[in-house]
């Protein structure tokens, strides 16, 4: 029987994520992807939907009582769920392409 340390696996994943993130930042690719994501989310109506949802929360709680933390807590799961699969796929593909180009050079 073989077992590997789950914690170690997690650490390695985190390290990998940090490395990829650094590469993306240094090359400027991260900003480009961010801009692309923003455009796609606007195009598909995601932005309008979330904005509407925020307005409803603000109305419900009253402008005086609502905090940014409340909004973030309520909006985050919904925002994640509403991102269309196609947008996720496109971004993933772009990141893959970027990484394979990085490896080649």
């Amino acid at each position: 029987m073989f077992f590997y340390s789950i914690q170690e696996r997690k650490n390695r994943d985190a390290q990998m994520r940090a490395t990829i993130n650094q590469k993306l930042v240094v090359s400027g690719e991260r900003d480009k992807l961010k801009e692309l994501l923003r455009t796609r989310l606007i195009e598909c109506g995601w932005r309008d939907q979330l904005k509407q949802h925020c307005k409803e929360i603000v109305k419900q709680k009253g402008l005086e009582h609502v905090t940014v933390d409340d909004l973030v807590a309520e909006i985050t799961p919904k925002g994640r769920a509403l991102v269309p699969d196609q947008v996720k796929k496109e971004l993933l593909q772009k990141i893959r392409k970027f990484l394979s180009e990085q490896q080649q050079s």
């Binding site: 940090a18 993130n21 240094v26 090359s27 109506g45 904005k51 940014v68 496109e90 593909q93 772009k94």
Partner: protein, 515 residues
């Protein structure tokens, strides 16, 4: 947005100025050099947990970086009494004393300017920015408290048009234009600044503005567009009384008059017709690249011309057989993609149409290929169903299928094969359809029923995201997407105005926008 600064930020600004903000913004938010990005990549981690977690903030007083999720920035603020922090993703300022993000005009100006520079660096043009009402607009909104919210099943924006006697050719185009998202955004936000002040009654752009008001007023009775027709006819005299009254010609004439009447809104348009940035050109103008290759020396000469629409040939092609390399003869196209393939294939110009080659210094046989250099925001395709020659008018009624989403990647100049000699169709198929940079989505179709001499125009328009309506003069009837895509299926057909959205939305964040 509340741009009144919080007292804590005011005090900070008064004592330390704007420099701390500017420095943090340039170094860690909108980086414009590889050096800066390197620094950012290395140092953007929480100083407490050493991780690059989301919602990282920087203390404005001591440039401590702390994450928000694990409350490291909060703890720092509390223990050091440093109340102000910048969100390192968006550049907004969080005041812990107020317990909220705070906004300040001067700071926003700096952030905006920095963002602009960073965008230029990235090569991003026309990035979306949310609508911020000006003081004047805020005042107007306060004076007019009535709001109209559009729900998904709202029929606002749909209106029939009275037929003024064979004017269905105009009605179908008006329906397509009024459902063009970018035009709607432009007109409903009242952006036309009339250039014909003394004579604004004669301005077609002003008339379009009124037309949009009519369409989106909520009125349900059919509208009578006689002023529009009158103005187009006055300014495009070649159309008046033209017996064929062709929807496509009407569209082009209308766009042309609109573009003429916009002129003067910028200095460029008068001096250089190809660089007009009027709303019509911003939306409809694309660039068509033409590459002529000398068969003798393979020298390629390239020109780029602006276009508002693409006219596509139907029917089988002749004259293909004498191509030296024996290109496939084109069958009658039965899909929009086929038509576009045919449009962008290299064409042998023949021995009777020699072109002077600048390298050979003599007239040579050549091939010519058209590709899309620049795509417009709205792509308008016209199927040439009518053949008019002296004495006879003929209509080609072949069914041509078209998709709801069109990928233009294979027809781009960048997809052109740069090998010399066009031995085969050089258009590369889109390798991957995932990227939607060149994707278009259908929003209007114009159909013609009948013969070349007499017939009737109708149109389909898309409302909101996926509701389709069939417009036939004063009638507006809900339709299904299948019906739209099947249109032209029978013998009945006409011009197709396949048009599109996508690239970027120039619109604001108001409730009017449903794409």
């Amino acid at each position: 947005m509340n741009t009144k600064c919080c007292p804590h930020l005011s005090v900070f600004k008064a004592t330390k100025g704007l420099e701390p903000f500017r420095i943090i913004h340039t170094y860690f938010i909108s980086c414009t050099s590889r050096e800066a990005r390197k620094r950012k990549a290395k140092s953007c981690v929480c100083h407490t947990c050493r991780q690059a977690r989301p919602r990282l903030h920087s203390c404005l007083s001591c440039v401590y970086f702390g994450c928000y999720g694990l409350k490291h920035i909060q703890e720092h603020a509390k223990s050091k009494m440093h109340n102000l922090a910048i969100d390192l993703t968006y550049g907004t300022i969080l005041c812990f004393a107020c317990g909220d993000y705070v906004y300040d005009t001067e700071i926003e100006h700096i952030a905006e300017a920095q963002q602009k520079i960073a965008e230029q660096w990235m090569g991003v043009t026309n990035s979306f920015s949310a609508w911020e009402p000006t003081d004047k607009e805020v005042e107007l909104l306060q004076q007019n408290p009535k709001r109209r919210r559009l729900t998904a099943n709202s029929t606002i924006g749909l209106r029939g048009l009275i037929n003024l006697g064979n004017t269905c050719f105009m009605n179908c185009i008006v329906q397509a234009l009024t459902h063009t998202p970018f035009l709607r955004d432009y007109f409903l936000s009242d952006q036309h600044n009339c250039q014909m002040r003394k004579d604004s009654e004669q301005c077609l752009v002003c008339e379009m503005s009124r037309l949009f008001q009519e369409f989106y007023s909520g009125m349900r009775t059919p509208h009578t567009p006689y002023r529009l027709l009158h103005l187009v006819w006055t300014h495009a005299r070649h159309l008046a009384g033209y017996e064929q009254q062709d929807a496509h010609e009407f569209l082009i004439a209308t766009l042309d008059v609109l573009h003429q009447h916009c002129k003067g809104s910028n200095g460029l348009s008068n001096s250089n017709p190809h660089h007009c940035n009027c709303i019509i050109d911003q939306i409809f103008t694309g660039g068509l690249q033409s590459d002529v290759t000398c068969q003798q020396c393979n020298n390629v000469s390239t020109t780029i011309d602006p276009f508002w629409d693409i006219s596509l040939d139907l029917g089988p092609t002749e004259a293909e057989t004498d191509f030296p390399n024996g290109i496939d003869k084109f069958e009658e196209p039965t899909s929009l993609t086929n038509c576009l393939k045919r449009f962008t294939r290299p064409e042998y110009l023949g021995s009777s149409a020699k072109i002077k080659c600048s390298i050979c210094q003599s007239y040579q046989e050549s091939t010519k290929q058209l590709t899309m250099k620049k795509l417009p925001l709205v792509a308008c395709f016209h199927l040439k169903r009518f053949e008019h020659s002296t004495g006879y008018h003929k209509k080609i009624s072949t069914y041509v299928s078209f998709p709801e989403e069109l990928d233009m990647t294979p027809f781009m100049s960048s997809s052109r094969n740069h090998n010399n000699g066009y031995s085969e169709q050089v258009i590369r198929e889109a390798a991957s359809c995932l990227s939607s940079d060149y994707k278009y989505s259908l929003y209007a179709v114009v159909n013609h029923r009948g013969t070349a001499d007499s017939g009737h125009y109708t149109s389909f328009v898309r409302q909101h995201k996926d509701y389709w309506f069939r417009c036939e003069d004063h009638l507006v009837i809900r339709a299904k997407l299948e019906e739209v895509l099947r249109s032209e299926g029978s013998v009945a057909t006409g011009i197709k105005l396949a048009v599109h959205k996508v690239k970027q939305m120039c619109s604001n964040n108001n409730n009017m926008i449903f794409l």
